[in-house]
């Protein structure tokens, strides 16, 4: 609580010693131990230890995560009137577009990145990270905070608009842009397929129908997430070198953007009327940056953008920040605004 007040409201009278103490307290008391697996991966990567998970493991583990997140939402969603959510989805998509434009404005006019690179990075920050969302879900589970079942649907809806806007800013309505290919890449990409597939399976089969697969998808969720985070730590360590080349601004942006965007996310959560749990997750989504769907789509549609810029910021700064501090911070901010 105190920390949120400091970071959000203290403005003129920041007291660094207190702040450090608060940060330490948040990290030791509120941090989900699962995040330690990320730290292990990061450390192993930085030390160049002999630790490397084969790619199929990463794919398997992320498939499990996407399906369980989808199925969990689907089971609950089936109990709700579908039409009520349509309006919320429109607002959430509008938020995604707003965040992308805002990210572009900051990167281009404050950070002085060229139009193409700024648009590419903005596409990553307007889009979302499933890994961060999964950690947010685990965080809420641990704190026993309930959240709306439509959150996985928001996750799906937020992935795409930012990428399209990013490409539009970079290219204009250029005839040569392979739009079919881009849409295919995003709509038929693994994450959207598996999340929507999981939602559908959850909705159709329901809680009892999924009882036989529950041990794998739900009971093992945190174990699977731990392996996923170990791998993410290794991946993030690969991108740490980007700092030296791309400078301080990118680091500042990688930390500042999630804070600002999460605050906007909380605003939108209040607009939609989400519960505190839903608001924490929407803030987490808004504050997260894509590192799977956006890089792939941007790489094929805007090849002249430097992929190292986006990946360094999103993987080496924003993802660890959200894990280690961001999510706990968003929870405190939500408590403050909702309290």
């Amino acid at each position: 609580m105190a920390l949120a007040r400091y970071l959000l409201l203290s403005g003129g009278y920041l007291r660094p010693a207190w702040m450090l103490r608060d940060i330490y307290r948040v990290m030791t008391t509120q941090l989900d131990p699962i995040v330690l697996f990320f730290v292990l991966g990061l450390a192993a990567g930085v030390l160049k230890a002999d630790l490397r998970l084969p790619q199929p493991i990463y794919e398997f583990v992320s498939t499990l995560l996407l399906l369980s997140i989808g199925m969990k939402g689907g089971i609950e969603l089936a109990r709700q009137p579908a039409l009520a959510i349509a309006g919320e989805l429109v607002i959430v998509v509008a938020m995604g577009c707003l965040l992308t434009l805002l990210a572009f404005a900051i990167l281009h006019w404050v950070g002085r990145l060229g139009r193409i690179d700024a648009a590419a990075v903005a596409a990553h920050y307007g889009s979302v990270s499933v890994g961060t969302f999964a950690v947010g879900v685990a965080f809420l589970g641990r704190a026993a905070i309930p959240y709306e079942p439509q959150m996985p649907l928001f996750l799906v809806m937020l992935e795409m608009p930012a990428i399209i806007i990013g490409i539009l800013i970079a290219r204009g309505l250029h005839a040569a842009t392979p739009w079919g290919e881009v849409l295919r890449e995003v709509v038929l990409g693994r994450s959207v397929m598996l999340l929507l597939g999981g939602l559908a399976i959850g909705a159709i089969a329901g809680s009892e129908g999924l009882e036989p697969v529950k041990p794998l998808f739900f009971d093992l969720f945190k174990g699977v997430l731990a392996i996923f985070l170990l791998e993410m730590g290794l991946i993030a360590s690969d991108h740490l070198g980007g700092f030296r080349r791309h400078g301080l601004f990118l680091v500042l942006f990688g930390v500042g953007a999630p804070l600002l965007f999460a605050a906007i996310g909380i605003g939108f959560a209040q607009l939609i009327g989400l519960s505190p749990g839903g608001a924490i997750l929407l803030a987490t989504l808004a504050g997260s940056a894509s590192y799977i769907a956006a890089p792939a789509a941007i790489r094929s549609a805007v090849p002249e953008a430097n992929p190292a810029l986006s990946l360094t910021a999103s993987l080496a700064v924003t993802f660890p920040f959200n894990l280690l501090l961001g999510i706990a911070l968003y929870q405190q901010a939500v408590e403050y605004f909702y309290g």
């Binding site: 490397r52 084969p54 799977i292 094929s300 090849p303």
Partner: protein, 103 residues
């Protein structure tokens, strides 16, 4: 070089980003290539370390056996289309093949 016992063809090898796979294979087929082999690869080069540990961070290695004129035009085409913005290494060498009609 001594006379080869079998007919000669060109083996074109392309090492490039995993994310190009779909686009590249379409290009190959459009160019009249009859077959190719793709393997996952990793390594280090001008674009940094390509560790292949996840999704799009890896490389692929595409091997194509074809006759010399096709190999030449294919390499020119790939160079023009991809080399400016993508990590790509292109090379060719002579190989002896047992069934020349296949390539």
């Amino acid at each position: 070089m001594t006379d080869p016992t079998h007919p000669l063809r060109k083996l074109v090898t392309v090492i490039t980003e995993t994310s190009l796979e779909r686009d590249l294979t379409r290009e190959l087929e459009a160019h009249g290539v009859r077959g190719y082999t793709i393997t996952d690869a990793r390594g280090r080069g001008e674009h940094g370390s390509r560790s292949s540990s996840w999704g799009h961070s890896g490389n692929i290695r595409v091997e194509i056996i074809c006759d010399a004129p096709l190999a030449e035009s294919l390499m020119q085409r790939l160079r023009a289309k991809y080399c400016q913005h993508y990590a790509m290494v292109l090379f060719a060498h002579d190989v002896e093949v047992l069934r020349p009609d296949k390539f």
